[in-house]
């Protein structure tokens, strides 16, 4: 699927990031790894799309960032989900479910 990364809808990336962060705190690489993990390796998020998305979502107020120490004692920027981010996750989950149902029924039709 890696060749198909361009087709990754922007909305889907937001949804995946919000879901990946959950109630935890992750730095950029952590989020990329977690997305890869929860999609069982289907989605590899590159920094070129990850960081713009993180900054955009922070501007929208869905994420909050702070500087901290990483596992190997490096300074790293961590992200946490806000209340607004939680609401957004709910909205986007709903939207995605609608789309998925619609596509599935479209594919089953003959």
């Amino acid at each position: 699927m890696e060749g198909n990364q361009a087709n990754l809808l922007q909305g889907t990336l937001d949804l995946l990031i919000l879901k990946a962060i959950g109630d935890g705190e992750f730095h950029g690489l952590g989020i990329a790894r977690r997305v890869e993990q929860i999609t069982r390796g289907t989605f590899k998020v590159r920094p070129g799309s990850l960081f713009p998305a993180l900054y955009r979502m922070e501007e929208a107020g869905w994420l909050k960032s702070f500087w901290g120490e990483s596992e190997n004692n490096r300074r790293a920027k961590y992200y946490r989900r806000t209340k607004a981010g939680e609401r957004q996750l709910g909205i986007e989950t709903e939207q995605w479910a609608t789309i998925a149902r619609a596509i599935a029924s479209a594919l089953k039709a003959n």
Binding site: L29, Y55, W67, A84
Partner: protein
């Protein structure tokens, strides 16, 4: 949602640009370092690990640019850049810049000044509450337009149902005011008792005239204008009830008008007011009586339209003629009694010349715009190389168009500022040249309106 937080974040980025950039750099560096660290732990040599990490990332600068591109502040930053660039262009080519700014500035200035006058005289509502219900009533006879005869006026006061009140004034007469300091000439306007209530104006001090003041000849009472009260009576609050001598006759001061009051006809601007004192006899049988004209202002009842009122006036006219003596029947042949909005009546004489003047300066502004547009076009041809170069370096079509728009807007903004300055001077000159009172009342509001109008003019230029 998120508009507020996006705005806040854009502001933060603009104010702490350096820190935001440093943090972005640090964050992406730490990302690359982390990947490289993992590879080193896997046994790859440090140099090779770093090379691979960077390659996976797709370039530090590219990532940073991708982040910058979608930041809310990016558009503001690039517009500021465009404005700076536009200003530099103007400095490099001062002949063009000055020509354009002066041409536009003069156009905007003239239009704004004349529009201020048009607004103050024609558009601004009269300074009375509910002034759109105020009508002026006059008669059109075969001898021309004129005020109602006093006896018709008195009859109209009780006969006209569509109007809440029918008030009249006549004069002003110059009278001698004596008894307070040196004698002086004052202009005294005769008004009916309901004159100020019809305009919905209450005296600042004392009381209005009451209907018993209005009896035959008028009671010996007087209401002062604020101006006279200030200049002649030192704003003395104890003036109410005192007696002044007007034309050798003792009159009691019963009221003082508020400072903001202006007489409907600004050319008259009386110093004081005395009761009209009209004869209740309304008959017009013989010519052996003295008759005079009464200028009539009436307030339309709520819910009554002007055509309805006009129908009533026509009926009133017919009924009046039935009671006239032979001389007046002949005189009133083909007469019409007409109501029109008071503002319309007061501005009638100024209306046409002012609108023509406005059209003229509007045309001047348009010509100025066309000239500047031509200049811009000529300059664009000269700048083709620059644009081709920027295009080749990757500037999009929209980006180049925006550049030109921002440059034009900068030019127009400078011209607008200059135009407002010119308009201020011209308005001041008009006001000084105009009759006292004519402009002074409307000018503050007129000036207030210059700002948005000037901007409007500026907006017109951008299209050029």
């Amino acid at each position: 949602m998120g508009v507020g937080s996006r705005l806040r974040s854009a502001l933060r980025t603009l104010l702490h640009k350096q820190r935001v950039e440093t943090e972005l750099d640090a964050e992406i560096r730490s990302y690359v370092d982390a990947i490289a660290g993992e590879k080193i732990a896997d046994g790859v040599s440090p140099v090779e690990a770093r090379r691979q990490a960077l390659a996976e990332c797709g370039g530090l600068e590219q990532v940073k640019q991708a982040v910058r591109d979608q930041r809310a502040s990016t558009i503001v930053e690039s517009i500021v850049q465009d404005i700076r660039y536009g200003l530099r262009q103007m400095r490099h080519n001062p002949a063009f810049a000055w020509t354009a700014v002066i041409t536009l500035g003069l156009g905007i200035g003239a239009t704004t000044a004349i529009f201020s006058a048009v607004y103050a005289l024609l558009l601004r509502p009269l300074p009375y509450p509910g002034s759109d219900r105020l009508m002026f009533i006059y008669q059109h006879t075969k001898y021309g337009d004129g005020a109602l005869l006093d006896r018709d006026f008195v009859a109209a006061q009780s006969a006209l149902r569509p109007f809440e009140s029918v008030a009249g004034y006549f004069g002003p007469a110059d009278e001698n005011l004596t008894g307070v300091g040196a004698p002086m000439r004052v202009s005294a306007m005769r008004v009916t008792a309901n004159f100020f209530p019809t305009l919905r104006v209450a005296p600042a001090l004392g009381r209005n005239f009451i209907s018993s003041d209005d009896g035959n000849g008028g009671a010996a009472v007087v209401i002062l204008s604020h101006r006279l009260w200030q200049s002649r009576f030192n704003s003395n609050h104890a003036i109410i009830g005192r007696t002044i001598t007007l034309a050798g006759k003792a009159q009691t001061v019963v009221g003082v008008l508020p400072a903001h009051f202006v007489f409907p006809d600004p050319a008259a601007e009386p110093d004081l007011y005395v009761p009209a004192g009209m004869d209740p006899d309304t008959s017009l049988k013989t010519t052996n009586i003295s008759i005079w004209g009464v200028l009539t202002i009436a307030r339309l009842r709520d819910g009554v339209t002007l055509p309805q009122a006009q129908a009533d006036l026509n009926l009133f006219e017919q009924n009046r003629v039935k009671g006239y003596g032979p001389f007046f029947v002949n005189w009133a042949q083909g007469r019409k009694i007409i109501a029109q909005p008071l503002q319309r009546y007061l501005t009638e004489d100024d209306r046409e010349p002012l609108l023509i003047l406005l059209a003229c300066v509007g045309a001047v502004l348009l010509i100025a715009c066309v000239n500047v547009a031509n200049l811009q076009l000529a300059r664009t041809v000269a700048r083709q190389h620059e644009m081709a170069l920027r295009g080749a370096l990757g500037a999009g079509r929209l980006r180049l168009i925006r550049q030109f728009l921002v440059e034009s807007l900068t030019l127009a903004a400078i011209a607008a500022v200059m135009g407002l300055g010119i308009a201020g001077v011209v308005t001041w000159l008009i006001r000084r040249g105009g009759m006292p009172g004519e402009f002074s009342a409307g000018s503050q509001i007129g000036e207030l309106l210059q700002a948005p109008f000037g901007k409007l003019s500026a907006a017109v230029q951008v299209n050029g």
